[in-house]
Amino acid sequence: MDKGLYLRRRLSAQFNLGLASASAVFGLVWLGLILWGLVYNGMKGINIDLFTLETPPPPGDEGGGMANAMVGSLIMVSIGTVVGTPIGIFAGTYLAEFGRFTRLAVVVRTLNDILLSAPSIVVGLFVYELVVKPMGHFSAFAGAISLAVIVIPVVVRTTENMLLLIPDSQREASAALGVPTSVTVRKVLWPAARAGMLTGILLAVARIAGETAPLLFTALNNQFWSFDLNQPMASMPKMIFDMALSPYKAWQQLAWSGALVVTATVLLLSIIARLLVPGTKR
């Protein structure tokens, strides 16, 4: 028996696994620090004004809130979701049902997976060229479109994944009754995959609720209440960006509190999305 070899192997195992544990602790500490910093700095400015008042004018020392940005975000995220979701669901249905084995589906699947991680700033440039430039001015409409462009790939991916989880025997049973594919999709497959598809939509909403880059030069920003889709509109992420980079303490406080609100919203949406699908990840 070579005792030295055993000792070396045991020590090397302990050392390397210790390193892995240490890196886990190290990584989690940083992430914990970020959440703690966010709560600590953000809570100071959480009050009724934050949710009811519009943003204060530039010296920025008179308090004020972010209600206009919250409403703006709500409007643009809603439109983005309403526009992007049906396209995503239909395209996902094509990939899983109508064109599952076609060459087109392979192309769409690959491009969709690339779009899923595409830089959001490039999406902003795309919508600027597509919408803002022809219209001649920044608008909430352009902002909503850029968010829709981000929603589509997320919904396509989850829809296809969820439909593919359904066993083919259900499709065959439906076909054996003489039911056309479209009715099978609407009455059998979509209801069966509903929870998973809803999860995908919620995750897409969570993603665009915090997206800043695509709004920078599409919806721009607005200090005041605005419900006009044809005009620039405030949004939470863009407002946080502008206020954090301002020199005024009161504005920076608003940025922290806004960041806390956005993070809480995003985390809540992701948690609800997860709870919808018991027993499965993602």
């Binding site: 966010l38 440039l125 479209s182 915090g210 992420p237």
Partner: protein, 331 residues
């Protein structure tokens, strides 16, 4: 009942019956539904191609004026309308590479911890927490980096780095003062923290598909836990880990908000990692809305086109690597 069947009308009349009508209606609807899903699938291709075309059209004036030099020259002068994106490209590549160098080993460490070391009860909790953190918007990392991390980095870490590396020939240039707080290294570290949960989550998923039989066989031969990780799990998951890392690299290259807050937005080629710089995405985020001169705007669009080209290439490679893993699993 049989009498009803016997009195069935001739075929040409049957075509007008309610049953036949509804069958034809269903068939029409079926085809229409299929066409709608087909058009939606084409929309995805349309967005992809549209992005390239829109950015290419927007970038054409700048590309015509500056030619290939646009990529290789260091110039950024909106007043003289002279542009070249070398400094931006270096910033983008450097921040992403440094972030990957920091985040990849730690992310793999977290994945090993989660799959092999962590007690089963904590496994789902920590795993879910990491997945949730991967979904936090990048602007949050940016604001924390600017107000919490950068001041600490400036007053505590950077002086130590500057003093420590001062005696070494090459490293003292890389870590030359003064400590600004914000800068290339600070942006890279925040970027690393941001992609860390992403890498950890993907790597853990890839590790999880190692067949238990292989691991048990190795344990049966008397392997230590580390030997199982090092000689069974890691080789088995290699393609997936590389694919996941490339996916993270693709995200890091295009990441905008976290970097914009911390990079310092200085259009010059830096030699010290502590100096402020800029990246393609940060330059676009900062300057595009204010770029009124057509050639200035076109230069930023051309930079965006180049960024899109790099990230999409990296992401496509990542897809190839990951699809190999999927096939492995399917076979």
């Amino acid at each position: 009942m049989s009498s009803v069947e016997a009195e069935a009308p001739p075929l040409n009349v049957d075509l007008q019956s309610d049953r036949a009508k509804s069958a034809r209606r269903l068939s029409r609807e079926n085809r229409a539904f299929g066409v709608w899903t087909f058009l939606a699938a084409l929309t995805v291709i349309g967005i992809f191609v549209g992005m390239f075309v829109a950015l290419l059209v927007g970038a054409t004036p700048a590309l015509n004026k500056f030619g290939f030099d646009f990529l290789t020259r260091d110039a950024w002068n909106p007043v003289k309308e002279d542009f070249g994106i070398l400094a931006l490209t270096i910033g983008t590549l450097a921040t992403s590479v440094i972030a990957m160098l920091i985040a990849t080993p730690i992310g793999i460490g977290i994945a090993i911890f989660l799959t092999e070391i962590c007690p089963r009860t904590l496994r789902t909790t920590i795993g879910t927490a990491i997945e949730l953190l991967a979904g936090i918007p990048s602007i949050i990392y940016g604001i924390w980096g600017l107000f919490v991390f950068a001041p600490w980095f400036q007053s505590v870490v950077q002086p130590i780095l500057i003093n420590f590396f001062a005696p070494f020939p090459v490293l003292n240039v890389l870590f030359a003062g003064p400590p600004f707080g914000i800068g290339v290294l600070a942006a890279s570290i925040i970027l690393a923290i941001m992609i860390l949960p992403f890498i950890a989550a993907i790597t853990r998923d890839v590790f999880a598909i190692t067949p238990p039989l292989l691991k048990e066989a190795a344990y049966g031969l008397g392997s230590t836990r580390w030997e199982v990780v090092n000689k069974i799990v890691l080789p088995y998951a290699r393609a997936g880990v590389v694919g996941g890392a490339m996916l993270a690299l693709g995200r890091a290259l295009g990441e905008t908000m976290a970097v914009t807050f911390l990079i310092g937005n200085a259009h010059k080629i830096w030699t010290s990692l502590l100096a402020p710089g800029t990246t393609i995405s940060a330059a676009i985020a900062n300057e595009f809305a204010e770029a009124v001169e057509p050639i200035y705007q076109s230069a930023l669009l051309a930079a965006g086109l180049f960024l899109m080209f790099i990230t999409f290439s990296v992401l496509a490679l990542a897809q190839v690597m990951l699809s190999r893993v999927a096939k492995h699993r399917g076979g």
